[in-house]
Subunit: 210 residues, 2 copies
Protein backbone atom coordinates (compact mmCIF):
# COMPACT_ATOMS: atom_id res chain seq x y z
CA UNK A 1 0.00 0.00 0.00
CA UNK A 2 2.90 2.34 0.40
CA UNK A 3 3.33 2.32 -3.35
CA UNK A 4 0.16 2.63 -5.41
CA UNK A 5 -0.09 -0.40 -7.71
CA UNK A 6 1.22 0.35 -11.16
CA UNK A 7 -0.91 -0.54 -14.16
CA UNK A 8 2.11 -0.84 -16.39
CA UNK A 9 2.98 -3.99 -18.25
CA UNK A 10 1.70 -5.65 -21.39
CA UNK A 11 -1.97 -6.22 -22.01
CA UNK A 12 -1.19 -8.92 -24.50
CA UNK A 13 -2.21 -6.90 -27.53
CA UNK A 14 0.19 -7.65 -30.39
CA UNK A 15 2.07 -4.77 -31.86
CA UNK A 16 0.48 -4.76 -35.30
CA UNK A 17 -3.03 -4.91 -33.91
CA UNK A 18 -2.38 -2.00 -31.58
CA UNK A 19 -0.90 -0.01 -34.40
CA UNK A 20 -3.99 -0.49 -36.53
CA UNK A 21 -6.22 0.46 -33.61
CA UNK A 22 -4.23 3.64 -33.22
CA UNK A 23 -4.38 4.58 -36.88
CA UNK A 24 -8.10 3.95 -36.94
CA UNK A 25 -8.74 6.03 -33.84
CA UNK A 26 -6.47 8.78 -35.13
CA UNK A 27 -8.20 8.85 -38.50
CA UNK A 28 -11.52 9.29 -36.77
CA UNK A 29 -10.20 12.02 -34.50
CA UNK A 30 -8.35 13.90 -37.23
CA UNK A 31 -11.36 13.56 -39.52
CA UNK A 32 -13.90 14.89 -37.06
CA UNK A 33 -11.88 17.47 -35.14
CA UNK A 34 -9.22 18.44 -37.65
CA UNK A 35 -5.48 18.24 -37.12
CA UNK A 36 -5.15 21.32 -34.93
CA UNK A 37 -7.99 20.46 -32.58
CA UNK A 38 -7.16 16.77 -32.43
CA UNK A 39 -5.27 15.82 -29.30
CA UNK A 40 -2.96 12.89 -28.75
CA UNK A 41 -4.31 12.21 -25.25
CA UNK A 42 -7.79 11.99 -26.73
CA UNK A 43 -6.70 9.61 -29.47
CA UNK A 44 -4.86 7.49 -26.93
CA UNK A 45 -7.98 7.42 -24.77
CA UNK A 46 -10.04 6.09 -27.67
CA UNK A 47 -7.68 3.16 -27.90
CA UNK A 48 -7.63 2.77 -24.14
CA UNK A 49 -3.96 3.42 -23.88
CA UNK A 50 -1.49 6.08 -22.82
CA UNK A 51 -0.29 9.02 -24.84
CA UNK A 52 3.23 7.74 -24.43
CA UNK A 53 2.47 4.44 -26.11
CA UNK A 54 1.06 6.37 -29.03
CA UNK A 55 4.34 8.22 -29.38
CA UNK A 56 6.37 5.05 -29.24
CA UNK A 57 4.29 3.40 -31.92
CA UNK A 58 3.78 6.20 -34.41
CA UNK A 59 6.15 8.95 -33.38
CA UNK A 60 5.21 12.59 -33.42
CA UNK A 61 1.77 14.07 -34.05
CA UNK A 62 2.66 14.90 -37.63
CA UNK A 63 4.02 11.38 -38.17
CA UNK A 64 0.75 10.01 -36.91
CA UNK A 65 -1.17 12.25 -39.26
CA UNK A 66 0.94 11.14 -42.20
CA UNK A 67 0.41 7.51 -41.30
CA UNK A 68 -3.32 8.19 -41.52
CA UNK A 69 -3.15 10.37 -44.61
CA UNK A 70 -1.23 8.14 -46.97
CA UNK A 71 -3.56 5.14 -47.12
CA UNK A 72 -6.61 7.39 -47.35
CA UNK A 73 -5.08 9.51 -50.07
CA UNK A 74 -3.90 6.54 -52.11
CA UNK A 75 -7.24 4.83 -51.79
CA UNK A 76 -9.26 7.85 -52.88
CA UNK A 77 -6.91 8.73 -55.69
CA UNK A 78 -7.10 5.21 -57.05
CA UNK A 79 -10.85 5.00 -56.83
CA UNK A 80 -11.40 8.37 -58.51
CA UNK A 81 -8.95 7.51 -61.23
CA UNK A 82 -10.75 4.27 -61.89
CA UNK A 83 -14.16 5.95 -61.90
CA UNK A 84 -13.10 8.55 -64.44
CA UNK A 85 -12.01 5.97 -66.96
CA UNK A 86 -8.82 5.95 -68.97
CA UNK A 87 -9.64 9.09 -70.93
CA UNK A 88 -11.50 10.93 -68.19
CA UNK A 89 -14.61 11.27 -70.29
CA UNK A 90 -16.70 8.29 -69.27
CA UNK A 91 -20.43 8.96 -69.32
CA UNK A 92 -22.11 10.29 -66.18
CA UNK A 93 -18.69 10.90 -64.74
CA UNK A 94 -19.67 13.11 -61.77
CA UNK A 95 -22.08 10.57 -60.34
CA UNK A 96 -19.70 7.71 -61.04
CA UNK A 97 -16.98 9.55 -59.18
CA UNK A 98 -19.25 10.29 -56.25
CA UNK A 99 -20.34 6.70 -56.04
CA UNK A 100 -16.78 5.49 -56.05
CA UNK A 101 -15.88 7.94 -53.32
CA UNK A 102 -18.81 6.93 -51.12
CA UNK A 103 -17.91 3.30 -51.58
CA UNK A 104 -14.26 3.85 -50.78
CA UNK A 105 -15.14 5.82 -47.65
CA UNK A 106 -17.72 3.41 -46.28
CA UNK A 107 -16.58 2.21 -42.90
CA UNK A 108 -14.59 5.33 -42.07
CA UNK A 109 -16.44 8.17 -43.68
CA UNK A 110 -14.67 10.96 -41.85
CA UNK A 111 -11.46 9.90 -43.55
CA UNK A 112 -12.30 12.33 -46.33
CA UNK A 113 -11.59 15.22 -44.00
CA UNK A 114 -8.21 13.83 -43.10
CA UNK A 115 -7.29 14.41 -46.70
CA UNK A 116 -8.79 17.89 -46.81
CA UNK A 117 -7.66 19.23 -43.47
CA UNK A 118 -7.19 22.98 -43.45
CA UNK A 119 -5.52 23.18 -40.07
CA UNK A 120 -2.24 21.47 -40.90
CA UNK A 121 0.90 23.26 -39.73
CA UNK A 122 1.92 25.27 -42.78
CA UNK A 123 5.28 24.44 -44.27
CA UNK A 124 5.35 20.99 -42.76
CA UNK A 125 5.65 17.62 -44.42
CA UNK A 126 2.00 16.84 -43.70
CA UNK A 127 0.77 19.92 -45.53
CA UNK A 128 3.04 19.14 -48.45
CA UNK A 129 1.84 15.58 -48.80
CA UNK A 130 -1.81 16.55 -48.47
CA UNK A 131 -1.32 19.27 -51.08
CA UNK A 132 0.19 16.64 -53.34
CA UNK A 133 -2.98 14.57 -53.15
CA UNK A 134 -5.14 17.63 -53.76
CA UNK A 135 -3.17 18.50 -56.84
CA UNK A 136 -3.45 14.98 -58.20
CA UNK A 137 -7.19 14.86 -57.61
CA UNK A 138 -7.70 18.38 -58.93
CA UNK A 139 -5.87 17.42 -62.09
CA UNK A 140 -8.37 14.64 -62.58
CA UNK A 141 -11.31 16.90 -61.82
CA UNK A 142 -10.06 19.70 -64.06
CA UNK A 143 -11.04 17.78 -67.16
CA UNK A 144 -14.62 17.41 -66.03
CA UNK A 145 -15.14 20.96 -64.85
CA UNK A 146 -13.53 22.45 -67.97
CA UNK A 147 -15.96 20.36 -69.96
CA UNK A 148 -18.92 21.89 -68.13
CA UNK A 149 -17.68 25.41 -68.66
CA UNK A 150 -16.88 24.94 -72.31
CA UNK A 151 -20.44 23.84 -72.85
CA UNK A 152 -21.62 27.22 -71.60
CA UNK A 153 -19.10 29.21 -73.59
CA UNK A 154 -17.04 30.54 -70.70
CA UNK A 155 -13.29 30.72 -71.25
CA UNK A 156 -12.37 32.67 -68.13
CA UNK A 157 -9.61 30.78 -66.30
CA UNK A 158 -10.87 32.14 -62.99
CA UNK A 159 -14.23 30.56 -63.72
CA UNK A 160 -12.45 27.26 -64.16
CA UNK A 161 -10.57 27.71 -60.91
CA UNK A 162 -13.71 28.64 -59.02
CA UNK A 163 -15.64 25.70 -60.43
CA UNK A 164 -12.87 23.30 -59.48
CA UNK A 165 -13.00 24.77 -56.00
CA UNK A 166 -16.76 24.48 -55.82
CA UNK A 167 -16.76 20.89 -56.97
CA UNK A 168 -14.18 19.89 -54.41
CA UNK A 169 -16.11 21.53 -51.60
CA UNK A 170 -19.36 20.10 -52.86
CA UNK A 171 -18.00 16.62 -52.42
CA UNK A 172 -16.85 17.53 -48.93
CA UNK A 173 -20.29 18.89 -48.13
CA UNK A 174 -22.03 15.75 -49.34
CA UNK A 175 -19.70 13.57 -47.32
CA UNK A 176 -20.29 15.74 -44.26
CA UNK A 177 -24.04 15.33 -44.64
CA UNK A 178 -23.50 11.63 -45.08
CA UNK A 179 -21.50 11.40 -41.87
CA UNK A 180 -24.49 12.86 -40.05
CA UNK A 181 -26.80 10.24 -41.57
CA UNK A 182 -25.02 6.97 -40.86
CA UNK A 183 -27.85 4.77 -42.02
CA UNK A 184 -27.53 5.95 -45.62
CA UNK A 185 -25.82 3.48 -47.91
CA UNK A 186 -23.39 4.60 -50.60
CA UNK A 187 -25.96 3.66 -53.23
CA UNK A 188 -28.70 5.69 -51.56
CA UNK A 189 -26.31 8.64 -51.40
CA UNK A 190 -25.49 8.38 -55.05
CA UNK A 191 -29.14 8.36 -55.99
CA UNK A 192 -29.80 11.30 -53.76
CA UNK A 193 -27.01 13.20 -55.45
CA UNK A 194 -28.57 12.48 -58.81
CA UNK A 195 -31.82 14.02 -57.59
CA UNK A 196 -30.00 17.02 -56.13
CA UNK A 197 -28.19 17.59 -59.41
CA UNK A 198 -31.50 17.57 -61.20
CA UNK A 199 -32.86 20.10 -58.74
CA UNK A 200 -29.79 22.27 -59.17
CA UNK A 201 -30.55 22.57 -62.84
CA UNK A 202 -33.42 24.83 -61.78
CA UNK A 203 -30.96 27.37 -60.35
CA UNK A 204 -30.70 29.21 -63.62
CA UNK A 205 -34.40 29.92 -63.80
CA UNK A 206 -36.24 32.14 -61.36
CA UNK A 207 -37.88 31.00 -58.16
CA UNK A 208 -41.47 31.47 -59.27
CA UNK A 209 -43.98 28.70 -59.11
CA UNK A 210 -47.63 28.34 -60.07
Amino acid sequence: MATPPSKAGTKGVPREHRRLQMLDAATEEFGTRGYAAASLPSIAARVGVTKTLLHQYVGTKEDLYLACLVPVGDRLLDTIRAAMGPDGTAPHTPLRVLHSIFTALEGRREAWFVLYDTTLPPGGEAARRAAGYWAAIDRLAAGGTAELLRATGSTDPLDADALKYVWRDLVATLVRWWVKHPEQTPEAMTQRCARLFAAAAGLTSDGRSG
Copy 2:
Protein backbone atom coordinates in the same frame (compact mmCIF):
# COMPACT_ATOMS: atom_id res chain seq x y z
CA MET B 1 18.70 50.63 -15.07
CA ALA B 2 17.84 48.92 -11.88
CA THR B 3 14.19 48.85 -12.84
CA PRO B 4 13.40 48.10 -16.48
CA PRO B 5 11.26 50.92 -17.85
CA SER B 6 7.60 49.99 -17.89
CA LYS B 7 5.60 50.54 -21.05
CA ALA B 8 2.38 50.80 -19.09
CA GLY B 9 0.17 53.84 -19.21
CA THR B 10 -2.37 55.15 -21.67
CA LYS B 11 -1.56 55.56 -25.32
CA GLY B 12 -4.31 58.08 -25.70
CA VAL B 13 -6.60 55.80 -27.62
CA PRO B 14 -10.19 56.40 -26.53
CA ARG B 15 -12.09 53.45 -25.18
CA GLU B 16 -14.65 53.17 -27.95
CA HIS B 17 -12.03 53.29 -30.67
CA ARG B 18 -9.97 50.57 -29.04
CA ARG B 19 -13.01 48.43 -28.63
CA LEU B 20 -13.81 48.68 -32.31
CA GLN B 21 -10.20 47.87 -33.22
CA MET B 22 -10.41 44.80 -31.06
CA LEU B 23 -13.68 43.58 -32.53
CA ASP B 24 -12.34 44.08 -36.03
CA ALA B 25 -9.13 42.20 -35.34
CA ALA B 26 -11.03 39.45 -33.56
CA THR B 27 -13.49 39.08 -36.43
CA GLU B 28 -10.59 38.64 -38.81
CA GLU B 29 -8.87 36.13 -36.57
CA PHE B 30 -12.00 34.12 -35.79
CA GLY B 31 -12.98 34.20 -39.44
CA THR B 32 -9.68 32.97 -40.78
CA ARG B 33 -8.54 30.59 -38.04
CA GLY B 34 -11.82 29.55 -36.48
CA TYR B 35 -12.75 29.89 -32.84
CA ALA B 36 -10.69 26.99 -31.54
CA ALA B 37 -7.48 27.92 -33.31
CA ALA B 38 -7.85 31.65 -32.70
CA SER B 39 -5.75 32.88 -29.82
CA LEU B 40 -6.24 35.91 -27.64
CA PRO B 41 -2.53 36.77 -27.63
CA SER B 42 -2.59 36.80 -31.41
CA ILE B 43 -5.66 39.02 -31.57
CA ALA B 44 -4.13 41.37 -29.03
CA ALA B 45 -0.95 41.50 -31.10
CA ARG B 46 -2.93 42.55 -34.18
CA VAL B 47 -4.22 45.53 -32.26
CA GLY B 48 -0.78 46.21 -30.81
CA VAL B 49 -1.90 45.71 -27.27
CA THR B 50 -1.72 43.23 -24.43
CA LYS B 51 -3.85 40.18 -23.91
CA THR B 52 -4.90 41.61 -20.57
CA LEU B 53 -6.35 44.73 -22.12
CA LEU B 54 -8.40 42.55 -24.41
CA HIS B 55 -9.86 40.79 -21.41
CA GLN B 56 -10.69 44.01 -19.66
CA TYR B 57 -12.46 45.40 -22.70
CA VAL B 58 -14.39 42.40 -23.96
CA GLY B 59 -14.17 39.82 -21.21
CA THR B 60 -13.66 36.16 -21.88
CA LYS B 61 -12.88 34.52 -25.22
CA GLU B 62 -16.47 33.48 -25.69
CA ASP B 63 -17.67 36.99 -24.84
CA LEU B 64 -15.35 38.35 -27.48
CA TYR B 65 -16.67 35.88 -30.01
CA LEU B 66 -20.25 36.85 -29.21
CA ALA B 67 -19.40 40.52 -29.58
CA CYS B 68 -18.15 39.69 -33.09
CA LEU B 69 -20.96 37.33 -33.97
CA VAL B 70 -23.99 39.45 -33.20
CA PRO B 71 -23.38 42.34 -35.59
CA VAL B 72 -22.33 39.98 -38.38
CA GLY B 73 -25.33 37.74 -37.86
CA ASP B 74 -27.78 40.59 -37.71
CA ARG B 75 -26.31 42.20 -40.78
CA LEU B 76 -26.42 39.04 -42.88
CA LEU B 77 -29.86 38.07 -41.70
CA ASP B 78 -31.21 41.48 -42.62
CA THR B 79 -29.60 41.55 -46.01
CA ILE B 80 -30.79 38.06 -46.94
CA ARG B 81 -34.28 38.82 -45.75
CA ALA B 82 -34.35 41.93 -47.89
CA ALA B 83 -33.01 40.11 -50.93
CA MET B 84 -35.61 37.39 -50.74
CA GLY B 85 -38.47 39.83 -50.82
CA PRO B 86 -41.56 39.82 -48.64
CA ASP B 87 -42.88 36.52 -49.93
CA GLY B 88 -39.55 34.80 -50.50
CA THR B 89 -40.31 34.17 -54.12
CA ALA B 90 -38.74 37.12 -55.88
CA PRO B 91 -37.35 36.31 -59.32
CA HIS B 92 -33.74 35.14 -59.58
CA THR B 93 -33.68 34.78 -55.84
CA PRO B 94 -30.46 32.76 -55.49
CA LEU B 95 -28.35 35.29 -57.36
CA ARG B 96 -30.02 38.18 -55.61
CA VAL B 97 -29.25 36.60 -52.27
CA LEU B 98 -25.64 35.96 -53.22
CA HIS B 99 -25.21 39.50 -54.41
CA SER B 100 -26.61 40.88 -51.19
CA ILE B 101 -24.31 38.65 -49.17
CA PHE B 102 -21.23 39.68 -51.13
CA THR B 103 -22.15 43.31 -50.71
CA ALA B 104 -22.77 42.96 -47.00
CA LEU B 105 -19.44 41.18 -46.52
CA GLU B 106 -17.33 43.57 -48.56
CA GLY B 107 -14.68 45.06 -46.30
CA ARG B 108 -14.54 42.09 -43.91
CA ARG B 109 -15.19 39.05 -46.06
CA GLU B 110 -14.01 36.49 -43.55
CA ALA B 111 -16.87 37.56 -41.29
CA TRP B 112 -18.99 34.90 -42.95
CA PHE B 113 -16.95 32.21 -41.23
CA VAL B 114 -17.47 33.80 -37.85
CA LEU B 115 -21.13 33.00 -38.34
CA TYR B 116 -20.48 29.47 -39.56
CA ASP B 117 -17.75 28.43 -37.19
CA THR B 118 -17.72 24.70 -36.52
CA THR B 119 -15.21 24.78 -33.70
CA LEU B 120 -17.31 26.54 -31.09
CA PRO B 121 -17.34 24.93 -27.64
CA PRO B 122 -20.45 22.76 -27.74
CA GLY B 123 -23.12 23.59 -25.22
CA GLY B 124 -21.94 27.14 -24.79
CA GLU B 125 -23.74 30.39 -25.32
CA ALA B 126 -21.76 31.10 -28.47
CA ALA B 127 -22.82 27.86 -30.13
CA ARG B 128 -26.43 28.54 -29.17
CA ARG B 129 -26.47 32.03 -30.62
CA ALA B 130 -24.75 30.95 -33.81
CA ALA B 131 -27.21 28.08 -34.17
CA GLY B 132 -29.99 30.61 -33.78
CA TYR B 133 -28.72 32.57 -36.76
CA TRP B 134 -28.31 29.40 -38.81
CA ALA B 135 -31.86 28.39 -38.08
CA ALA B 136 -33.19 31.80 -39.06
CA ILE B 137 -31.23 31.83 -42.31
CA ASP B 138 -32.10 28.21 -43.06
CA ARG B 139 -35.77 29.03 -42.59
CA LEU B 140 -35.41 31.67 -45.27
CA ALA B 141 -33.50 29.33 -47.56
CA ALA B 142 -35.91 26.46 -47.03
CA GLY B 143 -38.50 28.10 -49.25
CA GLY B 144 -36.11 28.39 -52.15
CA THR B 145 -34.68 24.90 -51.96
CA ALA B 146 -38.09 23.31 -51.52
CA GLU B 147 -39.10 25.11 -54.65
CA LEU B 148 -36.23 23.59 -56.60
CA LEU B 149 -37.01 20.09 -55.39
CA ARG B 150 -40.72 20.35 -56.06
CA ALA B 151 -39.93 21.27 -59.63
CA THR B 152 -38.16 17.92 -60.02
CA GLY B 153 -40.87 15.91 -58.29
CA SER B 154 -38.91 14.88 -55.20
CA THR B 155 -40.82 14.83 -51.93
CA ASP B 156 -38.18 13.15 -49.78
CA PRO B 157 -37.61 15.28 -46.68
CA LEU B 158 -34.02 14.11 -46.52
CA ASP B 159 -33.49 15.48 -50.00
CA ALA B 160 -34.71 18.82 -48.75
CA ASP B 161 -32.39 18.69 -45.77
CA ALA B 162 -29.42 17.75 -47.91
CA LEU B 163 -30.13 20.48 -50.43
CA LYS B 164 -30.40 23.08 -47.67
CA TYR B 165 -27.07 21.84 -46.38
CA VAL B 166 -25.49 21.96 -49.81
CA TRP B 167 -26.74 25.46 -50.50
CA ARG B 168 -25.40 26.75 -47.21
CA ASP B 169 -22.00 25.22 -47.84
CA LEU B 170 -21.98 26.40 -51.41
CA VAL B 171 -22.26 29.96 -50.22
CA ALA B 172 -19.42 29.34 -47.79
CA THR B 173 -17.32 27.91 -50.59
CA LEU B 174 -17.94 30.86 -52.85
CA VAL B 175 -17.04 33.28 -50.09
CA ARG B 176 -13.90 31.31 -49.35
CA TRP B 177 -12.86 31.51 -52.98
CA TRP B 178 -13.64 35.21 -52.90
CA VAL B 179 -11.43 35.73 -49.86
CA LYS B 180 -8.56 34.28 -51.85
CA HIS B 181 -9.20 36.68 -54.73
CA PRO B 182 -9.38 40.06 -53.04
CA GLU B 183 -9.50 42.05 -56.24
CA GLN B 184 -12.89 40.63 -57.22
CA THR B 185 -15.76 43.01 -56.65
CA PRO B 186 -19.12 41.82 -55.33
CA GLU B 187 -20.63 42.47 -58.76
CA ALA B 188 -17.96 40.43 -60.53
CA MET B 189 -18.56 37.60 -58.08
CA THR B 190 -22.28 37.66 -58.69
CA GLN B 191 -21.78 37.45 -62.42
CA ARG B 192 -19.30 34.63 -61.99
CA CYS B 193 -21.84 32.76 -59.91
CA ALA B 194 -24.39 33.18 -62.67
CA ARG B 195 -21.96 31.57 -65.11
CA LEU B 196 -21.17 28.77 -62.67
CA PHE B 197 -24.85 28.07 -62.19
CA ALA B 198 -25.25 27.80 -65.91
CA ALA B 199 -22.34 25.38 -66.07
CA ALA B 200 -23.81 23.33 -63.24
CA ALA B 201 -26.91 22.73 -65.32
CA GLY B 202 -24.72 20.44 -67.41
CA LEU B 203 -24.22 18.12 -64.41
CA THR B 204 -27.26 16.08 -65.26
CA SER B 205 -26.01 15.18 -68.69
CA ASP B 206 -22.97 13.02 -69.32
CA GLY B 207 -19.42 14.24 -69.70
CA ARG B 208 -19.09 13.55 -73.41
CA SER B 209 -18.06 16.19 -75.85
CA GLY B 210 -17.65 16.33 -79.62
